[in-house]
Symmetry: C2
């Protein structure tokens, strides 16, 4: 049986609220752009009528009051989760409540099947993903063109929200994890559009590779 190709997306959400007190009726404001985070989750994990079986998504929340917090979503395990912003944000809220109830736990806390939360930042998260076998790529306008690269079996794409990835973090990930900067071209896209395009290009690449085998 062939080994399953895995892909992961890590979003650095600079202002995303790290307490469950935000309003589901105002994700851009009170949630610190949790609408954007939700759209990225949808583009990372969903296909038409089903979830991908190869994708995971990590939202690293860095807004007030207690950053950083990471919430993990594993497509192949998710149940009772819908791809709309309000539903996804409600799961983020539940994850943050779970964390508040377990203030001393330093490991991943299960929120429900396919969703986990941990008090950890992007450096620790990406280092862990790298240690567990993922090749790390940073989506960056000034990176190498994505169509010129061949991707490893387990690829992890790190990207920033509308405010971008801090330079310090870019440098850390490049140095510590050997991350390569990858560009979708000179146009600057929404984070969710970037994820949709990367998924598409990997799907096409994977298929071309299969046809040669």
């Amino acid at each position: 049986m062939p080994k399953l190709e895995m892909r992961a997306f890590v979003l650095f959400a600079r202002k995303a609220r790290t307490a469950p007190d935000f309003s589901l009726n105002d994700l851009p404001g009170s949630g610190g752009r949790l609408d954007l985070v939700a759209r990225c989750i949808t583009q990372a994990l969903w296909l038409s009528h089903k979830l991908r079986d190869d994708a995971s998504f990590f939202a690293v929340l860095n807004g007030p009051p207690s950053p950083p917090i990471t919430i993990a979503f594993y497509a192949s395990l998710l149940q009772h989760v819908s791809p709309d912003e309000r539903n996804l944000a409600s799961w983020i809220k539940i994850a943050l409540e779970k964390l508040e109830q377990n203030p001393k736990v330093k490991e991943w806390i299960k929120v429900q099947r396919g969703i986990a939360v941990m008090r950890c930042g992007i450096e620790e998260l990406v280092s862990d993903l790298h240690s567990s076998g993922f090749s790390i790529y940073i989506l960056h306008e000034r990176g190498k063109d994505i169509t010129e690269l061949e991707f490893d079996f387990n690829s992890c794409f790190v990207l920033g929200d509308h405010l971008g990835l801090p330079k310090k973090i870019e440098n850390f990930i490049a140095r510590k994890c050997g991350a390569i900067k990858v560009s979708l071209g000179p146009t600057s896209y929404l984070a969710s559009s970037c994820i949709a395009v990367v998924n598409y290009l990997l799907d096409r690449g994977a298929r071309s590779a299969q046809s040669i085998r």
Copy 2:
């Protein structure tokens, strides 16, 4: 000055509510998947930090109680509109209210700058776009591979929601407007992902063309 390339997306939303009585807190249910419609608008019209200057989006609502209704969004004209589902759905609600206030008008009614609404169905809409100079393409899993096609300057992409485009409408558009079926490959993507990918491929294609000129 070069003529501006235009692109349009037409979404056939089979169950989308055609009265303003839906709840912004339940777009999937009471809105008849208006969450999906909103995500398509975002992927069609937005870039990072700005709106595209070349794109328009037409949501053809076909749910109860009084289908069909088409709402048009012109990226270059939009103001005070955000890319989150709730905000976009609130503009759809306002458009439907405007239509209820003007039951006898048979033309486009301006909702606000960049948004207009009309009581018309997809056949009439796509025929009009074709007459006004757009080449029509139907996004379809069994179409010609998108990477093998060259697109015209003014391209209009027609796609279905999670329930797809009715066969009868496909046939009408093909016969009346010479529409070509275009495929993104064997994977079946979310409508919003399809739009993100088409925009990306057109951007790349347009750039390659420019570099040869």
